[in-house]
């Protein structure tokens, strides 16, 4: 018992403090190295932020359900059949006549997938787009459980499927993801980045705009910066009634749907 209650002498105290100091320094380094740089909740680009506020605006009145956006997405991002990033849902029951609802990733401001990912493999970029780090994902699929929109798919196997949509609907621009990781729509972030590097503007210039919006024959689906009043997205939204999916969840999607007029 006496061994446990013995007091520290000076030498031990100095040693202990030294060890404590080294641990704190090491901890700080580890913190900086691995964790400090991310913004998991991702409000950097939200209201009051600066920089472009990328958004997609989908006109439900103009969508004819041709599914070209689905084909173009599959071609461009090399997704596998049955595990698509972008789908078109069809609803006939509500209005009697068919209504089509294209559903990409909503790129929520308060994205449940980003909040639940145990390893920060999915995160908000500086500009607010939700992307994945396929090298970090452990494949736990909690993000798929958490996503309120069913916008995530999983690589259940190594895919050797030939892309059925190329070259008719586009060319592959995104490397195929490895087995065992989750994946999702990126708002064609690679196009946005490459475009901005070349000095062209996403939304205005086809090469810098998501493939699904470029191919849409009825311009039902447009992309742009909502902070820029002249962007195609802003102009499309002007004067129209816009809704987001499941607003009650507070996820604040960046995909807006315009109700038929």
């Amino acid at each position: 018992m006496s061994e446990h209650t013995r007091r520290l002498d000076r030498r031990e105290f100095v040693k202990l403090m030294g060890a404590l100091g080294i641990s704190v320094a090491a901890g700080g380094w580890v913190w900086n190295e691995f964790w400090a740089h991310d913004d998991p909740v991702g409000e950097a680009n939200a209201h009051g932020g600066s920089g472009p506020y990328w958004a997609m605006v989908i006109d439900l009145g103009a969508c004819i359900g041709c599914e070209r956006c689905v084909f173009a997405c599959q071609a461009t991002n090399d997704t596998r059949t049955g595990h698509l990033w972008n789908i078109v849902l069809r609803d006939e029951a509500t209005f009697g006549s068919p209504v089509f609802l294209p559903r990409p990733c909503m790129h929520c401001e308060h994205a449940p997938c980003v909040e639940v990912c145990p390893v920060k493999a999915t995160y908000h970029r500086e500009d607010g787009i939700v992307v994945m780090d396929y090298q970090r994902c452990i494949g736990c699929r909690y993000c798929m459980v958490a996503c309120p929109y069913g916008a995530r798919v999983f690589n259940w196997e190594e895919s050797d499927e030939e892309n059925p949509m190329t070259p008719t609907w586009g060319t592959v621009e995104n490397p195929r993801r490895p087995r065992g990781v989750a994946e999702k729509c990126t708002f064609c972030a690679h196009r946005i980045d490459a475009g901005l590097e070349r000095g062209i503007r996403p939304g205005y210039d086809r090469a810098a705009t998501p493939a699904c919006c470029v191919i849409c024959p009825t311009e039902a689906r447009v992309f742009g910066d909502l902070r820029d009043p002249n962007s195609p997205a802003s102009r499309k939204m002007a004067g129209r009634q816009a809704v987001v999916l499941r607003p009650e969840l507070g996820t604040k999607p960046r995909v807006y749907y315009l109700l038929p007029t």
Binding site: R90, P118, K120, G150, V153, E158
Partner: protein
């Protein structure tokens, strides 16, 4: 005499042989899963979690006996629970190994299992679970270590045994740390579901509480249950019947508290129409899950289990205790099963009403069953070996043939 010993030895190894056969089949399934990927399971984008997660949650649940009984023994000074706590801690470390095994199978990239320790997302319930499970596994290892080094094999290494004694002198500290970690992550497993805002069936602030309370009831019950079975088979007395009855009654009381909480959670949480949640509750109580929900979760694994466990103490009936504790564990396992699958049976989106593509149905594939049974067989084998060879579970030999033991145990003397 000799023939009887021979017979018993043979039976034991025959039992191990059966388990090894199950493990062999499972190993083939695991080989398929690891080489071909999760495509060989019935998991889909629509129902991404299945049997392995249910197994994981059940394992963690039955392991709750370890921290509850350790806390009772080492922190609240209820010394009489010490032998039962030993069994519970041994069950605990095995169950946690099982949980870790099923998670390794479940994640798509088992080679990256360590990412959770390096890339922290402190907002994620699953990250919290990862950290707590790993740390608590360490605590359990430290708690079991002194038991293992008591084996005669380690006679040659006195320093190891000394280390064991040293570690054991920290038992109260370990109990505190273990209780903290367990309280955190048993609840955060419920929280893992409870925070999923997009799935109304799960999104309930009560989930963490319901999980921890049912785990305490189920965990203590499981320890009591396996102790009774081991005593019955080996004819050794590990834990006095009085203590088992006491622990059982405690488990029954906790189960009643759980049922009470569950009742109000269901009643108040489903008042009026809540989109998604109301449909989920209908599916649970009147849909495809209704039969298992009402019989196993509520009637048998809930009310009857609680009554049996509490009555057993007053009547001294070991049979009641055995059935009651078994039913409690079954109720908990069914609860985890319903909770997990209900989430994916319900449509994701009710606004706008596009439901069809998102409704899913899931039945585990044979690979999932085989690998799950493999994990259970590995745990059972290790448990059997531990009960046979660890000096901590020597107990008191009551040398009587099996047939005579049954009525004695039923009478509880």
């Amino acid at each position: 005499m000799l023939s009887r010993i021979r017979q018993r030895v043979d039976l034991f190894w025959a039992w191990i042989g059966v388990l090894l056969a199950v493990i062999a089949v499972g190993a083939y399934a695991v080989f398929l899963i690891l080489s071909k990927g999760l495509v060989v399971t019935n998991l889909t984008d629509g129902s991404p979690w299945g049997l392995w997660i249910i197994l994981d949650l059940s394992c963690i649940g039955v392991a709750a006996g370890a921290f509850s009984l350790s806390a009772l023994t080492y922190l609240m000074g209820q010394e009489q629970y010490r032998p039962l706590a030993r069994v519970a801690v041994f069950v605990g470390i095995l169950a946690y190994s099982g949980a870790l095994m099923s998670l390794i199978l479940d994640i798509g990239r088992p080679d990256r299992f360590w990412h959770g320790w390096f890339f922290w997302n402190i907002h994620s319930m699953l990250w919290e679970v990862t950290m707590c499970i790993t740390l608590y596994f360490l605590v359990l290892t430290l708690e079991v270590f002194p038991m293992v080094v008591e084996m005669p094999v380690f006679d040659r290494f006195p320093w190891l045994r000394n280390l064991g004694h040293r570690v054991h002198s920290f038992a109260p500290t370990l109990a505190i740390v273990g209780m903290g970690l367990s309280l955190l992550h048993q609840s955060s497993l419920g929280g893992t579901y409870g925070v999923v805002v997009g799935r109304a069936a799960l999104f309930r602030p009560t989930m963490p509480l319901l999980f921890i309370v049912s785990a305490v009831a189920g965990g203590i019950a499981f320890s009591v249950h396996v102790t009774l079975i081991v005593q019955w088979i080996t004819g050794r007395l590990l834990v006095p019947a009085r203590v088992l009855l006491q622990a059982g009654q405690m488990s029954g009381a906790v189960l009643l508290i759980y049922l009470y909480m569950r009742f109000w959670d269901t009643t108040a949480g489903n008042y009026g129409y809540v989109p998604g949640r109301t449909e989920a509750f209908t599916t649970l109580s009147a849909g495809p899950f209704a039969l298992t929900f009402w019989t196993w979760e509520i009637l048998l694994g809930g009310l009857l289990a609680a009554i049996l466990l509490i009555r057993a103490r007053f009547t001294g009936s070991i049979a009641m205790l055995l059935i009651g504790s078994g039913l409690t564990v079954a109720g908990m396992v069914f609860n985890r099963y319903h909770t997990t699958l209900l989430a994916f049976t319900e449509p994701l989106s009710v606004n706008p009403p596009v439901t069809d593509p998102l409704v899913t149905d899931y039945t585990p594939a044979w690979t999932e069953w085989a690998s799950a049974f493999m994990i259970i067989a590995i745990l059972t084998m290790l448990f059997s070996l531990g009960m046979r060879y660890l000096p901590a579970f020597k107990g008191i030999q009551v040398d009587r043939p099996l047939e005579e033991r049954v009525p004695r145990l039923v009478q509880g003397r």
